[in-house]
Symmetry: C2
Subunit: 426 residues, 2 copies
């Protein structure tokens, strides 16, 4: 498709056309019935399964190019679409049809003393731009969730997956349009040039929200360049604080689960803080347990004094997201010192206290400035599915609009409908 | 005070110190009881009244400078603080103490099948930056509302009001701290240099939200430079559409109220659209009525053909915010044409249909993509007070976080508190 050379001016003109088309489609989507949106989603799911061979062929081109570029085995695996994953994407769309439609909910309904009635009603946000990296399944997942919430979507995937994404987006659009979706509701930026992202981020006349998904570098670039509101999380530097009144077996279970069950995700922990009163006993035990589970432990000076062969933590370690079997350990004076450390070095994502002391738990829950704060449970539960949202479009560590896992309601805005009998202001 | 020459590096260092202090204060504010916050607000109100003479003296310096700079009479009036206005600011703070505290509300509370309890609770946003122009009362109003919602605030007022603002901010801070507010909760940027704004807008490590209040130029600059989320409205280009089934007397009343009662505000109308079926009769009548009320009428070609001496509207007129007794008039084919015009040229602020046809009203309410859509009532009701919010910090035409009038709940975020008995993810 349109991957040939193109000037920046031409690219900008074409992107603006895409934006205008998306905005127009969004007005039609806003008035579409839940049944019609679900019919579109079901048609898209069927179309993806029917196009499995074509999708695999396009994916093979991406995988070839990726091997030539020297992508790691892990990245190639993330890029791969086999029949199981293709079915998974289709089933994901079918699952979205079972979720509650978030549009048209009455959020409040009052009558003022002068007789005007003011209703606050949920409406789609409008046009959402999704900027993401390698996984081509995001193309399908994000489009499905945006459509269900009545939004048009402009997708900008990673260059590694461009062939896969082009076929997937075309599949979604054709099947959707045939089932009644306005043309332009699902569009993919066909250029892998990074300038396309810069141009997209200035299109505030057409795009209402940007959701970047990927590494910290991508997200920082988006935040610096965008004149459109962005919802994001940079990274997950999650903590467990083991209080002096902790059930230590529980602390062990939570730490091993939160670190080892899936170390490469944002809600895995990267740091453990231990109350000084139990450090002499608990820290050597925990280090041994972590090492038995294949975890490299780094530590502050106190920890190094207690246990041999600990790699001393640098200042960078306290804010590092390893996404790997590495963990940094610190001894702190009390729950308030733990809160201070977490608020300073953490990423405001998910943090946990293990304690049987209700007052300490309350202090921690109130004091830690994170999207999700845990008492006696693994941070790995920060997830739209685990929170009962059904599906998530991402996780936010911002404080505006959406914080924590973002489900369908977070893909809506609201408007006020005011009805009167001729009232004027005096 | 610190208005002398200062290098950009030094200014940046000092602003970062202010930011760190504000962030630290915000953590203490987040845990402060409603009673304590109200005591601070009452102390601030008393302090402002007690310092009336000092405030008037500082204000006189600003007024002198303003006269020398050649500020208009209207601008000088906006800048003026007399005893009545000083009392008004103090009473405004006292009124805020009577409003419901928006922090600590349980927004949802569920127990998942695995037994973890997930509570969603309202919390302060953190640190809010307010960037505003001439009116010094914003210093007091914004600080009061931010404090009530548990937020620290960094204020950046206009250079014309710098002396007034410095005295007001010092008054608020001293009285607040004496009543138990953490130092740093209310701070004013003491430099009038525009570079201070540019530096502030990059302090995303300390500031969670920027609210600009002022002209479109100021707001565009803020949006272009900020890496911090911004909630804003550029302007109010509000419409009344008079349907063919309108009660024409009601349309007259609404149009005159929305245009003439206070033409300089954002919820005043700038355009009227008239259904073609009633145009021959209604347009000449309306033009006469508007002229009788001192309004200059501009119009599209159809309008010019119907009425003599109408100034032809240019393309710019359709998206212009006059803030004056000027109005542009257009004839449209039907309600859908009206919606299309409003969505294209309007500012997504407040728009109204006058009709007795329920279906047309429904179409308009659903189709117009504005924060507040009216049926048979004046657009002048778009206001926190009129909406029953008690007070407003501003109006948003964005779709993220807050849309329409923003009261105290819109100055909060939320967090999830997850409590378990050792649950881990399988």
């Amino acid at each position: 498709m349109s991957q040939g050379k193109i000037s920046v001016e031409e690219m900008n003109a074409r992107l603006l056309e895409m934006g205008e088309k998306a905005k127009y489609a969004s007005y039609r989507l806003a008035g579409m019935s839940p049944a019609r949106k679900n019919a579109c989603l079901m048609a898209m799911a069927d179309a993806i399964e029917a196009a499995a061979a074509e999708i695999r062929d396009a994916n093979a081109l991406d995988l070839d190019a990726g091997r030539k570029k020297g992508l790691s085995a892990a990245m190639l695996d993330r890029l791969t679409l086999d029949d199981r994953r293709i079915k998974g994407m289709a089933d994901g769309l079918r699952y979205v049809t079972t979720l509650d439609d978030p549009v048209g909910k009455t959020l409040s309904d009052i009558i003022r003393p002068n007789g005007i009635r003011i209703r606050k009603v949920s409406v789609p946000i409008g046009v959402i731009g999704i900027i993401y990296e390698s996984r081509p399944n995001v193309t399908v997942d994000a489009a499905g969730l945006c459509l269900k919430a009545g939004n048009a979507v402009i997708l900008r995937g990673g260059s590694e997956a461009i062939n896969s994404n082009l076929v997937l987006a075309q599949c979604l659009n054709c099947a959707g349009v045939e089932a009644g979706m306005p043309d332009g509701a699902v569009q993919l930026v066909p250029w892998t040039d990074r300038k396309a992202v810069s141009l997209l981020l200035k299109m505030s006349a057409y795009i209402d929200l940007i959701i970047p998904r990927g590494g910290e570098g991508l997200i920082r670039t988006v935040v610096e360049q965008s004149t459109i509101p962005v919802i994001k999380h940079y990274k997950g530097v999650c903590h467990v604080f083991v209080d002096n009144e902790a059930d230590r077996d529980m602390a062990d279970r939570i730490i091993i689960n939160a670190k080892c069950q899936r170390p490469g995700v944002c809600n895995a922990i990267e740091k453990v803080l231990v109350h000084q009163d139990i450090a002499d006993e608990y820290v050597p035990h925990l280090v041994q347990l972590l090492r038995d589970n294949g975890v490299e432990v780094r530590g502050g000076p106190d920890v190094c004094r207690l246990v041999d062969d600990i790699k001393p933590a640098t200042e960078e370690d306290w804010s590092a997201e390893y996404l790997d079997l590495i963990l940094t350990l610190k001894i702190v004076g009390d729950v308030n010192m733990a809160i201070g450390h977490i608020n300073k070095y953490g990423s405001h994502h998910s943090d946990c206290i293990v304690t049987n002391n209700a007052a300490a738990a309350e202090t921690f829950l109130n004091g830690v400035d994170s999207a999700t704060v845990y008492h006696n449970a693994s941070t790995r539960f920060t997830d739209g599915g685990e929170f009962g949202m059904g599906a998530e479009i991402g996780i936010s560590t911002d404080k505006l609009h959406a914080r924590g896992p973002m489900g369908l309601p977070e893909l809506t805005s609201y408007k006020y409908l005011v009805c009167g009998e001729g009232q004027v202001r005096s």
